[in-house]
Point group: C2
Chain length 284, copies 2
Amino acid sequence: MYDIAVIGSGPAGVSAVLTLKALDKNFIWFSSGSVSKKVEQAHLIKNYPGLPDITGSQLALTFQNHYEGMNIKLMQEVVSGVYVTDGYFTLLAGDKQYEAKCVILCIGVENVKPIEGEEQFVGRGVSYCATCDGFLYKGKTIGVLCTDKKYEHEIEFLADIAKKAYVFPLYSGYEIKSKNAEIVLKAPLKLTGSNRLERVEYKGGGLDIDGMFILKGAVSPATLVHGLAVEGGHIMVKRDLSTNIAGIFAAGDCTGRPYQYVKSAGEGNVAAHSAVEYLAQLKK
Amino acid sequence: MYDIAVIGSGPAGVSAVLTLKALDKNFIWFSSGSVSKKVEQAHLIKNYPGLPDITGSQLALTFQNHYEGMNIKLMQEVVSGVYVTDGYFTLLAGDKQYEAKCVILCIGVENVKPIEGEEQFVGRGVSYCATCDGFLYKGKTIGVLCTDKKYEHEIEFLADIAKKAYVFPLYSGYEIKSKNAEIVLKAPLKLTGSNRLERVEYKGGGLDIDGMFILKGAVSPATLVHGLAVEGGHIMVKRDLSTNIAGIFAAGDCTGRPYQYVKSAGEGNVAAHSAVEYLAQLKK
């Protein structure tokens, strides 16, 4: 059992773990990559105080050097679910489970909107984790939506298990090496079914499927944590960055605009302090 | 008339002006010193993302290089009052007045608590500005409370005008060169009077005075801006860092804990964006 789990490695996540480490706290840190992709892609940043005219990739490297210099370890795994258990939280990351007394969500904002019906069929046909749920679809027909080339090995893993895998690549330069895979150059619009997922629909057609895997770096907040209060795609937070669920905090772009590096870094710091205060209250 | 006035040059103030400059806004920036004294004094800072193991004086210099590199000018003047005028604000800085459509307060937290009665007699015997109000006390008896050696020239200016100046230096190594000045090694506890200020009291005694000058780097928020909502010494702000007064925003330590550099820098950024949005609304 960890005291704190931090999810995400943009400026908010990095700031949170630097503060937790400086306070010598017991935490675990997850991210789908080494640093937030959005930071890497930014051009010239003029208003991050103390680092004038820095590019996104320089800032990403500077952040990485900072946390590595403090011996902070990043678990490169996508957290696909956070479950409220009795007094603590269970996190599903890849095919493993982790437990923590509180959680700081630094999950950014989604670039890919959820598909209609996606939330409805989570656990009943919709999965975010190839290694966790893949074997449930042995010999069956599945859809795989993928937003990044780096998940292609998971697509191949799934296609080799399934009888048939309809792959929807939402990126360019795809290379899928599996005889069971069939590329569909359409954007999935809707998932339908009665009790379980039965079909994916797109403009001009649809396909019958037994399951749909959605492989993307970030899961929407409400899908990640059932019952989390969200408004306009942003997690609702108070000034101390607590959410509507006791023990869950949020920081960075996921809490709303402005989408600015130093705003996110500041919130990561505050969320870390609030989490530490929450833990102190738990012990009383 | 400026669009925005920023008061304070700690991490919040620096962050606000960097963002306003990057957005090419029309602003003016005040501070009692080149960078916040508290930043300069900090020992090793481990959790300011991107600047590992930096001392307070290094961080102060890094901030200064950043804003000077963007040709941002800092007015080294203490703002002693912000007055709500019809649709805009008037700022009193030294003996000059400035006008702005909105104000961002990055004034930190007071190290020196207000004296009992201080707020009650502002404008009726209590003054924060030697050059503004000094001549009102020509030939009279005054008290001067001073928190920093750098204001000694103002003490001498006041003592030379007055018949008698009782000086309360709240710092070590004082050197006051005026024959009218008398050092009192007591901490003022209470200001009393009926309509106007008449007396300063301290442990074991008191002195009759016509006026009391309080020379310190920061004025308390409620004294600086009449009607500003304050709780526990902190300015009450919403998530967008607006205050109870439309057009006044606050950022940094003055809005509450944690007193952390990156928290302040993050809030300065958010306050700058909120001020820009406020101005856009004004124009509609």
